[in-house]
């Protein structure tokens, strides 16, 4: 347990979500028969009482770094002014987190009350008391500190996407507030900067299993390093000799060693039972396009822009509450197709909605979810396309905002 609490504290830092050391660095606790923490801190007294109030085995206390801190502070204040919930519309939140409760007191009772119902709670505590004030995310787990890491990281992602998606919509509707304009202007400019150059990925086609496993591991790690996916999400596959090698469900793209399932495409084995939720979408895409490599990330501006819609059209659309599954428009950002679809199977599942998008393109964005890109021989092309899609979306977002701001002023 000691090892795990340190590991996930470090992962929060390396994901750019937290400070590495000092009083703002993450606190991660793990409980078997005794409680262990990755570090000491004044917050622990309250967090220990949270452990006592819940049937859990782990807790993550994350003070998010900029820009997440400012964004979550802004959204939290809005939530506290209304019903105490942040309600992002991205796919991961909709599917796994539902909504994000916010409280303004660092009290064990309040925290326990929120965590009894949900996987996380956001603290937005004005200056009072000695233990803590400011913004923090608390998330718990029942089997591993990894759950708290995943949830805290998802909360950051969801809030980031929500702020930028809402801001664009508010500008379109002419209702952006001074606070939101101020926040946007105060955010570090590197949010809108692209990554320098492409990584040197292994060249395919790969003739041995060892080569392709290494190539998958390398591409997964680089996708995380370039910020094109949060560690836990996304998936990746490579097809060779009628076997699809695909990342396992719930695997981290930067830790894929031992987490790749070989799935026989002739249906002779079900050993791929633990393969990614998007296995069927991968298989159908490969069958349709003849590609070998598929890379799926969650680059933020691609996700944000996929949710942008003309407000007037949206107001008139009878499916406006179900854009993610029933959007009737054939949508695109430039030449990048956007498709609806939910995680996994089912009539509105990605396995049905995604493959048709590859009829005319080697990339596609899934509404509020992420980007899929293809490579004919290896991951170089898929990676380059993923980066390019994000760059295009980031620039397009920035252009839209600039135009709308100029128009308003």
């Amino acid at each position: 347990m000691e090892e795990l609490v340190k590991k996930y504290a470090n992962k929060l830092f390396s994901a750019g979500l937290a400070e590495e050391t000092g009083p703002l660095s993450p606190i991660v606790g793990g409980l078997d028969d005794t409680l262990v923490w990755n570090r000491t801190g004044p917050e622990i007294k309250v967090l220990e009482q949270v452990f006592q109030g819940l049937n859990i085995n782990s807790l993550v206390f994350l003070r998010p770094r900029a820009p997440y801190e400012q964004i979550i502070r802004y959204l939290s204040q809005k939530a506290l002014d209304t019903h105490g919930l942040i309600e992002p519309k991205d796919c991961e939140t909709r599917t796994f987190l539902h909504d994000l409760p916010v409280i303004n007191r660092f009290s064990p009772d309040k925290i326990v009350g929120a965590l009894k119902k949900r996987k996380s709670v956001i603290m937005a505590v004005p200056k009072e008391g000695p233990e803590f004030s400011g913004i923090a995310i608390i998330a718990h787990g029942t089997v591993s500190p990894e759950q708290g890491f995943v949830v805290a990281s998802s909360v950051c992602f969801a809030c980031f996407v929500k702020f930028f998606a809402d801001y664009l919509e508010d500008l379109q509707l002419g209702r952006a507030s001074k606070n939101s304009n101020d926040l946007f202007d105060s955010l570090p400019p590197d949010i809108f900067l692209g990554q320098p150059g492409l990584p040197d990925l292994a060249k395919g086609p790969f003739s041995t299993e060892e080569q392709l496993y290494a190539a998958i591991v390398q591409a997964g790690r680089k996708t995380v390093e370039y910020g094109l996916v949060d560690s836990y999400f996304g998936n990746i596959s490579y097809c060779r000799n009628n076997i699809l090698y695909i990342s396992q469900t719930g695997s981290s793209l930067d830790e894929l060693e031992g987490c790749i399932d070989p799935v026989c495409l002739d249906g002779s084995s079900s050993a791929g039972l633990t393969a990614s939720s998007e296995l069927t979408a991968h298989i159908q895409t490969i069958a349709q396009t003849g590609c070998r490599a598929i890379l799926h990330g969650h680059p933020k501006f691609s996700v944000i822009l996929s949710m942008a819609c003309d407000p007037a059209e949206k107001a008139a659309c009878r499916h406006r509450e179900h854009c993610h599954t029933r959007c009737p428009q054939k949508r695109a950002i430039g030449r990048i197709p956007i498709v609806p679809g939910e995680v996994g199977t089912g009539p509105t599942g990605l396995c049905n909605t995604l493959p048709p998008a590859f009829g005319t393109s080697n990339h596609a964005i899934v509404y509020g979810h992420g980007v899929f890109t293809l490579g004919m021989n290896d991951f170089s092309q898929a990676f380059a396309t993923l980066l390019e899609v994000e760059s295009t979306c980031r620039n397009a977002y920035w252009d839209k905002v600039r135009r709308l701001r100029n128009h308003c002023s």
Binding site: D33, K117, V143, S144, A275, G344, G349
Partner: protein
């Protein structure tokens, strides 16, 4: 004959009917109990309520007239909450002497709830074979002499239940098989613990229920929202709805996975990998039998498979455990034999896991391999209590002791182990040892995180953190069995979503962690019942083989013997976390804190 005494109270509750049926088979009479709402909040339904009534007679032998057989639905049954068409059967196990219980599906639970009953408590012994027929509030006792001796399929054919739910026993229970099961709606079973024998000692041949009522739901909109959230999570689950998941291939989908993880029990747990597995997997069954999807009432996963061979009756395909134990465990590669053995066990009303594991034990002790004929013949002998079957039908431990080789019984507390080798998953090792019903994988179900990676993956070759994980999971699954829902759906959804459904149905505000607290009470009650019967740390253990012999490694996976020191340390941690003393016995202070009575101890 109708002995209807009408004390039924019209329902004013949401979720529950407010009525519990008490049947005395000695007098062939019944009465109605209408507990207060505190009782429902405290024990919820299913396993919780069954455990409450079992506690009242905990120290009686399983065949005592005052021993209860309880069948309880839960608050979600007969609503649109996914996979809630289940109930829990509880009595004292003839196989183990422990709490004996099993979750059951089909349509019976829904019918029982729609008939207006949260559940029933059966006591007494009928002087002749009897059936209980319930049509809404009316209870009939029917002589069943003409059905005694018939197998479960024949009973079904004779009674033609139509829309009614039917639970019946077969010859195995009538002939005293300690692991006799109860067959429900032809293709489902309350398989483990020997609950069929609990029916038989009361001369209860069958239970038939038909209802036309509805479960009252407080907040239909909230329930619909919860249902959509659960569906969305299910669709995202590769294990349930994926191309190779339960919905596509049945539970047999697990066969390849467990073998590839090197934890398929082979040759009576001497090995953990079966070289013939690729030809005996779910895909092979699909190709050979082209089975159709089938499932319990109210379930969209449909994990069962029914084959319809030309000219023969429809036949349930074997579940994963049966596929594995009737091949790898007994050293057979005969798929037809698996199907035939499964069908025979189903007709006799006999648990396939215990039956196969006992035969594997026999194979190890005698050194005799099975032919198709010899194996089926031994199943007949077990069920009909003749020849060698007279010893085999007492279970692996009793048989092995009789043969002078108790070490060959791969059982915990006399219940035979299912098809996950504990050397390949240490949470499973701990879960088996600590389970309140003996060698059972479902109490803590650690396969979820150790193999299926849900909610996240844990290190399957480590005891680190596992003591608390097992404790929490036991509480969690006690809730699931009390709601009553199917455990499979929790590979995808969580109590977060089911608490929302519970609140919407019952109107009782509750969150996931509140439900787990109820589960903790329910599970601790079982520890008390077992303790009252003399079980303690000496019984919370695994067969020595797992500590002394390695499994079959390969594919860069090493399957070492379990480190006994680490195992015992983890077990000791569990006792502290669960609130037990160092010998695994319950503590008065803890019991009272959970709102449980202590006076019986």
């Amino acid at each position: 004959m109708i002995l209807s005494r009408f004390h039924y109270i019209e329902n004013t509750m949401y979720g529950w009917t407010g009525n519990i049926l008490h049947i005395n088979l000695t007098t062939r009479n019944f009465s109605v109990e209408t507990p207060d709402s505190d009782f429902y909040g405290k024990y919820m339904g299913g396993k919780g309520m069954g455990g409450y009534y079992l506690r009242q007679c905990a120290t009686l032998p399983f065949d005592h007239p005052d021993m209860v057989v309880c069948l309880f639905t839960g608050p979600l049954v007969a609503t649109i909450a996914p996979t809630s068409g289940r109930a829990h059967l509880v009595s004292k196990s003839p196989l183990t002497g422990l709490v004996g219980d099993a979750s059951l599906g089909g349509k019976l639970p829904t019918q029982l709830k729609r008939a207006g009953w949260d559940g029933m408590v059966i006591t007494g012994k009928s002087p002749y074979p009897i059936g209980i027929e319930i049509i809404n509030h009316q209870v009939n006792f029917c002589r069943a002499d003409h059905l005694w001796g018939l197998d479960t399929q024949q009973v079904h054919e004779r009674l033609t239940p139509g829309k009614a739910g039917l639970a019946s026993i077969g010859p195995a229970a009538e002939n005293g098989v300690r692991f006799a099961s109860v067959t429900v709606d032809l293709h489902h079973a309350a398989g483990r613990s020997g609950l069929g024998l609990c029916f038989a000692v009361k001369q209860l041949k069958y239970l038939l229920v038909k209802g036309q009522g509805h479960t009252r739901v407080k907040d239909a909109k909230g329930l619909k929202e919860a249902r959509e959230e659960i569906f969305r999570l299910t669709a995202a689950s590769p294990a349930l709805m994926g191309q190779y998941g339960f919905s596509s291939l049945g539970t047999g989908a697990v066969y390849d996975l467990i073998d590839s993880r090197r934890m398929m029990p082979t040759d009576n747990f001497k090995g953990t990998w079966f070289k013939h597995a690729p030809k005996l997997n779910a895909a092979a069954y699909s190709k050979t039998y082209a089975p159709e999807k089938y499932g319990c009432r109210g379930c969209h996963i449909l994990c069962k498979r029914i084959a319809r061979p030309k000219g023969l009756d429809p036949m349930a395909m074997p579940e994963y455990e049966t596929m594995s134990h009737f091949t790898a465990l007994i050293g057979s590669r005969d798929m037809e034999l698996v199907v035939a053995a499964n069908d025979r066990c189903s007709r006799y009303g006999m648990d396939t896991i215990s039956a196969a594991a006992t035969l594997a034990c026999r194979r190890e002790i005698t050194g005799k391999d099975f032919t198709r004929q010899s194996l089926l013949s031994l199943l007949d002998d077990m069920a009909l209590n003749r020849g060698e079957g007279k010893e085999l039908n007492k279970g692996a431990l009793a048989y092995a002791r009789t043969m002078g080789h108790p070490e060959s019984a791969m059982a915990v507390k006399a219940m035979e182990l299912p098809a996950y080798d504990p050397r390949g998953a240490y949470g499973m090792a701990l879960g088996y040892a600590l389970s309140t019903r003996g060698g059972c994988h479902l109490r803590a179900y650690p396969i979820s995180h150790e193999i299926f990676r849900k909610p996240v993956a844990t290190d399957r070759f480590s005891f680190s953190g596992k003591a608390r994980i097992i404790k929490i999971a036991e509480d969690f699954n006690a809730v699931v069995d009390s709601l009553t829902a199917c455990k499979f759906i929790f590979f995808a959804a969580g109590l977060e979503e089911y608490a929302k459904a519970y609140t919407a149905v019952t109107g009782e505000k509750s969150a996931a962690q509140d439900l787990i607290s109820v589960g903790e009470r329910i599970y601790y009650n079982e520890r008390i019942i077992n303790s009252l019967n003399g079980f303690d740390a000496r019984d919370d253990d695994l067969p020595p083989r797992f500590f002394n012999e390695p499994g079959t490694g390969g594919n860069q996976i090493k399957v070492a013997p379990i480190d006994r020191v680490q195992f015992l340390a983890a077990r000791e941690k569990y006792y502290r976390i669960r609130g037990l003393d160092i010998s695994g016995n319950p503590l008065e202070e803890k019991a009272r804190a959970l709102g449980l009575e202590w006076k019986n101890l």
